[in-house]
């Protein structure tokens, strides 16, 4: 059968050039934050109000507070100088929806003056429901809500109070209102087709056992991404948690909780907790270059700048398309290795400790830059995502980085693209590295596999499966599992007949 999955919700289109949501996009597109929203209407125990909102940004950072007019001017100036700019976000320094006039004045002006720039907002969610409709009137297709718990008794250990209907409310009652508003806001946005990412701060001993439940509920209510961030609570930040000696999670704890939350939902792993006035590519910050004084002196032709952005975007997209093209549309069945002979079947899997019987789990290594879609060739993967597929569950078990010592720069973040499809020593080194990582897998799903790698995989009884670039990961996994199961069952059925014949 032909496997071409069209993502009906348009999620893929919406995250395609958003550097914070698509891992691949963050190599190509830039984002900026403007700090127009100083006030906040709740208290988090990990926040010190002298600094930026710790829900979205790094604590301990003081961003430059702008008026909406200054923010618009700055955004247009940056968009003229950095044509890769695709997203403007408001994430503080307080809560954007506790400052609705300032936030919406900024959005309204940008919706009008730079309609090609997408807007996004991060909020604690308390004032989300009353603002959902107004948000939807702008160029917004992403909203981030910080939800640390869905249980008010846990909430009371994180939020001492909220400001609600002109009063301060404390304790469990406050947390219950906050949670109710957050979940209601999430549902309202999801109904309107806005993508919602949930941020959760992992606080050991408080919500570590609870976040899997949070993940399940927010996913149920329509969130598309859950980003688990570690608590940062240094005593010198002067937060309640910092002063009280609340510890941060270890890397292992964070990973374990991220995995517990990965159940059927994408977990973001490249968030950098940028400051509320960050500018540039993710992991890079050029906010120093755009001081207000300098912006005042700039004379910008906005129409020309917008045309330039359109041109740059077209170039980026063309390059991305060229990189991930090749087999235009290929059916899984036609690419699957020939059905093994009946008598060969038990030995194929037995040696590797894997069961070949129908319904047993099926392990697949996936070449995807963002987890959403299969978009990389076997020789160009930076990391393989390992999925376990059972009859009705599909689980991301882990992400294995492909370590190619000679090619990997220090940070491992800005890996040069390897365009080679199979020949050449760089690609050969990668094949060796990638092969070592898939030994325990039943199949490899990617966009392309060179001939040599194909043979090596087959020899190791691992199915090489290539699909059209852009195929949704989940759909491809389900399809691959179904095919594998059907074949396995056919072979098992065939075995007794072969024996009795």
């Amino acid at each position: 059968m032909e496997l071409k999955v069209v993502d009906s919700s348009g999620v893929r289109e919406k995250i395609r050039n958003h550097p914070c949501f698509s891992k691949d996009a963050h190599h190509h597109y830039a984002r900026m934050h403007v700090a127009v929203a100083p006030a906040c209407n709740i208290q988090c125990h990990y926040c010190n109000r002298k600094y930026d909102c710790a829900n979205e940004s790094r604590p301990g950072v003081v961003s430059e507070l702008l008026t909406p007019e200054q923010a618009v001017k700055k955004t247009l100036a940056v968009a003229a100088e950095i044509p890769q700019l695709s997203v403007l976000g408001i994430a503080g320094p307080g809560d954007p929806l506790a400052n609705p006039e300032r936030t919406f004045a900024t959005f309204a002006a940008l919706t009008e003056k730079a309609p090609d720039i997408r807007l996004c907002v991060s909020t604690n969610g308390l004032m989300l429901p009353p603002h959902v409709d107004e948000l939807c009137q702008h160029n917004i297709d992403h909203v981030t809500i910080t939800i640390n718990c869905v249980d008010p008794t846990i909430g009371a250990q994180i939020y001492p109070w909220i400001f609600w209907e002109h009063r301060r409310i404390r304790g469990v009652k406050a947390a219950a209102i906050l949670i109710e508003q957050q979940l209601k806001g999430l549902e309202m946005l999801a109904e309107r087709g806005v993508l919602v990412k949930i941020n959760s701060v992992l606080i050991p001993g408080v919500n570590d056992q609870h976040l899997a439940e949070v993940s399940r509920i927010v996913k149920d209510k329509g969130a598309f991404l859950h980003n688990i961030m570690p608590l940062i609570a240094e005593p010198e930040h002067g937060t309640f948690f910092g002063l009280m000696g609340q510890r941060s999670p270890s890397a292992e704890e964070l990973k374990a909780v991220q995995q517990a939350c990965a159940n059927d939902m994408e977990i973001m792993s490249h968030c950098r907790q940028c400051r509320a006035d960050a500018i540039g590519m993710l992991g890079q910050d050029r906010h120093d270059e755009f001081t207000l004084e300098r912006i005042e002196t700039l004379d910008i032709d906005h129409a020309a700048a917008m045309e330039r952005r359109a041109r740059v975007r077209a170039e980026i997209e063309a390059a991305r398309a060229a990189k991930s093209q090749q087999p235009a549309l290929v059916s899984l069945a036609s690419l699957t290795s020939p059905k093994p002979a009946a008598e060969a079947l038990p030995s194929v899997h037995a040696g590797q400790g894997k069961s070949a019987f129908a319904g047993a789990s099926f392990r697949v290594a996936v070449a995807s830059s963002d987890g959403q879609q299969i978009d990389q060739a076997f020789t160009e993967v930076e990391a393989l995502r390992i999925y376990q597929v059972d009859n009705d569950t599909l689980r991301l078990i882990e992400t294995r980085p492909v370590a190619v010592p000679a090619l990997l720069p220090e940070s491992g973040q800005d890996l040069p693209p390897v365009m080679d499809s199979g020949e050449g020593s760089a690609a050969a080194t990668r094949v060796v590295a990638a092969m070592a990582l898939v030994k325990d897998c039943d199949a490899v799903l990617c966009t392309r596999i060179g001939f040599g790698a194909w043979q090596q995989l087959e020899q190791a009884s691992i199915r090489p499966l290539s699909v059209e670039a852009g195929t949704a990961t989940k759909a491809a996994l389900r399809q691959a599992h179904a095919d594998w199961r059907a074949e396995t069952e056919a072979n098992i059925d065939a075995t007794p007949r072969a024996l009795s014949a």
């Binding site: 100083p38 906040c40 109000r49 109070w161 609340q246």
Partner: protein, 92 residues
């Protein structure tokens, strides 16, 4: 009879947009309340709005000079219980 902001204010802006009298001024080194304008929210709200959102204990004084949010009132932990709370939080 006006409410007052002390040097404990961290200039967080929370109170400024809420004042029905526009009496809160975003001044340096810390925010201030214009005594000629402040009505104590009398007749408008049951609680003084600035003091009901201020996140800093002791930053806002009522007209008699008493902190509206005394120590322990915002964290929910009275100073006498700090040691004990710190010990239990450190144990997590």
């Amino acid at each position: 009879m006006s409410y007052r902001i002390t040097t404990d204010c961290v200039n967080c802006w929370a109170c400024e947009p809420l004042c029905p009298q526009q009496a809160v001024l975003a001044a340096k080194p810390h925010f201030t309340i214009d005594p000629a304008r402040c009505t104590g929210c009398e007749g408008e709200f049951a609680e003084p709005q600035c003091a009901s959102i201020c996140p800093i204990e002791g930053a806002i004084l009522d007209p008699t000079g008493v902190p509206v949010n005394p120590p322990g009132s915002l964290t929910g932990i009275p100073p006498s219980a700090w040691q004990q709370t710190r010990a239990s939080i450190q144990a997590r």
